[in-house]
Amino acid sequence: MCLAIPGKILSIIPKTDETFRMGKVSFGGITKEVNLSMVPDAAVNDYVLVHVGVAISRIDEEEAKLTFEYLKQIGETNELNDE
């Protein structure tokens, strides 16, 4: 649970209060709603590192893909399937 998982922002759901800024993020095909309030510059098609439902930093695409593959291999992406 300590690791952050990279995903791609598919869409951003605008909110008047920045605290609630959400986006749909794809993690290798699994889509989840993620809070984007801590990465205010992140836009659609950007890659972000997500930890327990909150994006904590932006990373580049190449990096995101390699990291995701690694996490998948070691079973760390299972938490995305919990529901």
Partner: protein
């Protein structure tokens, strides 16, 4: 070396091993802080391929391992209350408290739910106005922004039936506690990449300076770890003690300002009990005065006595870097993932479970 195929670049990995072997002339003990790093080192067989002079010891960076028994007891106590929905990350359910685990009280009928994010707990509270929803907020600095955000959101939404049981632990005070222990054997640290993604690197400069110990912020993939180990050993061999950043693709020196802001808004720094290690001053986050109505300890007037730890478990010595899991007399016999005696056997990020699952690579 079949497992090397799992590396991003096996050839590069081989070169790193070669280089580490070349620069190492003296025995060094390095500690990786984060449980994700421990898992990766053990799973990928890195420990076997490092030169004998390098000893990796496995630090306290696994929330499942360090959350104190009393806090688990608090969560269990809350879960057993009539109108409470206790929400937690899945990893925490199997950790033994003083007499049982959350999983056991769940099987006995308590409303314990596994959630992916604390923000879902706020939604659950909105949907269940007749219930009290409590989120079991464990974790290191990486998890603190999300837990803080849940409180900020609940407050803005006027949700009054939400609270958190905060049991946050902080890395730098724990490093200081380990380094100032008279028995300390740690020569250098691999600091945790995702913790520093949030907090940045500033806190580590005074520690490196005061204890003359190199600290290299490191990622958790095999090549990251190899590079982090190499950078640390090179400093040690030269007698240097700098803070360096191996994980620059995610970590900036100042961290994530907005994430730190939300932590600062909701939490205050407090002394904290670490399972196996004991109390470490100023090493945890508790909900502050401004948001106190979201503090489950105050809301439910919790007064759970400090519990005795199981003396059969030597997890404290493991997390201090004094012993390895296989040196525990109960390892793999009385203590297994199916019936853990101690917390590091529960989560795959715990050192004992990592050794147990991949033991063929570590015997």
């Amino acid at each position: 070396m079949k497992f090397l195929s799992e590396y991003r670049d096996p050839e590069l990995a081989r070169q790193y091993f070669e280089e580490i072997r070349r620069v190492t002339t003296k025995p060094w003990t390095l500690m990786e802080i984060c449980g994700g790093q421990t898992h990766s080192l053990v799973r990928n067989g890195i420990l076997d391929l490092l030169p004998d002079k390098i000893t990796m010891v496995h630090g306290p960076g696994c929330p499942v391992c360090v959350t104190s028994i009393s806090v688990i007891d608090e969560a269990i106590h809350l879960a057993q209350k009539e109108n409470v929905i206790l929400c937690s990350f899945g990893d925490m359910l199997r950790v033994p408290g003083s007499s049982k685990s959350l999983l056991e009280v769940k099987s006995a009928g308590a409303d314990v739910r596994i959630l992916y994010s604390p923000l879902e707990a706020v939604q659950l509270a909105q949907q269940s106005p007749e219930k009290e929803v409590v989120f079991f907020a464990v974790g290191f600095e990486t998890t603190a922004p999300a837990n803080a955000l849940s409180v900020i959101q609940a407050d803005k939404l006027g949700v009054t039936n939400y609270s958190i049981l905060a049991s946050h632990v902080l890395v730098p005070p724990a490093m200081e506690a380990l380094l100032s222990d008279p028995e300390n054997k740690i020569d250098g640290f691999l600091a945790a990449g995702h913790v520093c993604t949030i907090m940045g690197m500033e806190e580590y400069y005074p520690i490196a300076e005061k204890y003359k110990t190199p600290i290299v912020v490191t990622g958790f993939e095999p090549l990251d770890l190899l590079q982090g180990i190499l950078m640390t050993v090179m400093q040690l061999e030269k007698g240097e003690y700098k803070v360096e950043n191996q994980y620059a693709r995610s970590v900036q020196r100042e961290g994530n300002r907005l994430a730190k802001d939300s932590i600062g808004k909701v939490f205050t720094i407090d002394d904290r009990q670490w399972r196996g290690i004991g109390s470490i001053p100023q090493s945890g986050y508790e909900v502050n005065e401004r948001y106190k109505k979201y503090n489950a300890r105050l809301k439910f007037d919790l007064n759970i006595p400090l519990a005795e730890e199981n003396k059969a478990c030597i997890s404290g010595d493991i997390m201090k870097g004094l012993k390895k899991p296989v040196q525990c007399p109960n390892f793999g016999t009385l203590c297994k993932p199916e019936h853990p005696l101690g917390a590091p056997m529960v989560s795959s990020e715990g050192a004992c479970a990592a050794y147990y699952h991949y033991s063929d690579k570590n015997n």
